[in-house]
Symmetry: C2
Subunit: 238 residues, 2 copies
């Protein structure tokens, strides 16, 4: 039975971190909300009233009867099944810690365009978004990226954890790719300042399952409904 | 060997979610940054340059050589060891999903007083904090709390997952307690609107290990350095 991924249609969003792992591994999955009547199915699960197995929000993964919400949780679950996680239990906890740091950064990226309220449009919080994006570029990108670069380098530079590609590497690829899209000016120094991350990003982009996926119509382009939004007025030199 | 918890001294903060689990279970642990020279040890680990086992930020837990960062990750690891998690693997994933929803809410609570930049003081972002707190009270508290109430009720109301107390219940206690402290007006309706959560909160507060802990000097009072800050100007009726 194929995995069922549930996430909003029309954007990459948080669902993309899961898609990249499924695609890389060549796993069978259905992107439910992109199928006919799929949105209805998704909303029905979100509105569930029985059982503790109710997700708060997409993305969530359905594997048989089990429903697993939250990107890091889904990847923790899928990792070993897809051959994309360390086999050692202690290493899996470390991988999960790295993934949760990515989760935190993703939330901060979202808030660069929505610093006041998710319930408001970006257009209703532009000055605050400019202030938050400025701080994100000046303080937060260097803090997170210097950290990932340091971990990657400490691990000999080819993978962020262990001696093989893991779902964390794939998520770092997406983080790098998304930030380059959203903030081309602020990230123009990435190749110079984050050599290991830049090499990891390039090497993942070249791998056949990812290269094929990026060319497919399953990979939606980045757009201004997603996490990574390119608003030129929020971008600035680093 | 006792567990070593690493977290900033002087505030409850994110470390408190871990402390509550350790305290409830009567586990042996050292709150390292509150010991002499403990801060130095913590900063040394954070500045580590070898091995992938480097945490991004406190809290992290050290168990022998293993260093585990992120609250949800620490609790996922400790849960079974402390008898505070479901034994079934699938249920553990669901517990982790619930805990990650708590993580998300905690990040939003932090941002009610720091919507623009963690690098700035609250005093430098007061109008934006007022706007964000207003949205948090109007839209986000009801969304999160109605969700947790629904899950709790679906699970017969006594525990949020499984048939015994888990670390997720303890974290919900802290969330409830912290919000009552930070926003007394906005949360004055909790007992009326969230009956199951209110009952859970009260029952955990009465349990001996928690009651003892709350009276001890290990439980720092809430203060305006933590996640849950009481700034009367940010509070409002729901």
């Amino acid at each position: 039975m194929p995995y069922e991924l549930y996430y909003w249609d029309g954007l990459q969003g948080r669902g993309e971190f899961v898609r990249l792992a499924l695609e890389y591994a060549g796993a069978r999955y259905v992107d439910v909300a992109r199928t006919e009547a799929g949105m209805k199915t998704m909303l029905k699960i979100l509105g569930g009233k029985t059982g503790a197995n109710i997700p708060f929000a997409p993305p969530f993964l359905k594997d048989g009867d089990l429903i697993i919400p939250h990107v890091a949780n889904i990847l923790f679950y899928l990792g070993p099944k897809l051959g994309l996680a360390p086999t050692d239990e202690a290493m899996r906890m470390i991988a999960n810690g790295l993934q949760l740091t990515i989760t935190d950064m993703v939330a901060e990226i979202h808030d660069t365009h929505h610093p006041i309220a998710t319930s408001l449009y970006y257009e209703d919080q532009k000055p605050e978004a400019k202030a938050r994006a400025g701080d994100f570029i000046t303080n937060r990108i260097p803090k997170f990226f210097a950290y990932f670069e340091r971990v990657l380098t400490a691990n000999a530079g080819k993978h962020v954890i262990g001696d093989a590609l893991s779902y964390v590497d794939l998520s770092l690829f997406q983080l790098y790719e998304g930030l380059r899209y959203a903030f081309p000016r602020a990230t123009s120094h990435f190749a110079k300042d984050y050599e290991a991350l830049t090499a990891l990003h390039a090497s993942i982009k070249r791998r056949k399952p990812i290269a094929d996926y990026l060319k497919s119509n399953r990979r939606l382009p980045f757009n201004e409904s997603g996490i990574f939004r390119h608003y030129p007025e929020l971008d600035q030199d680093p």
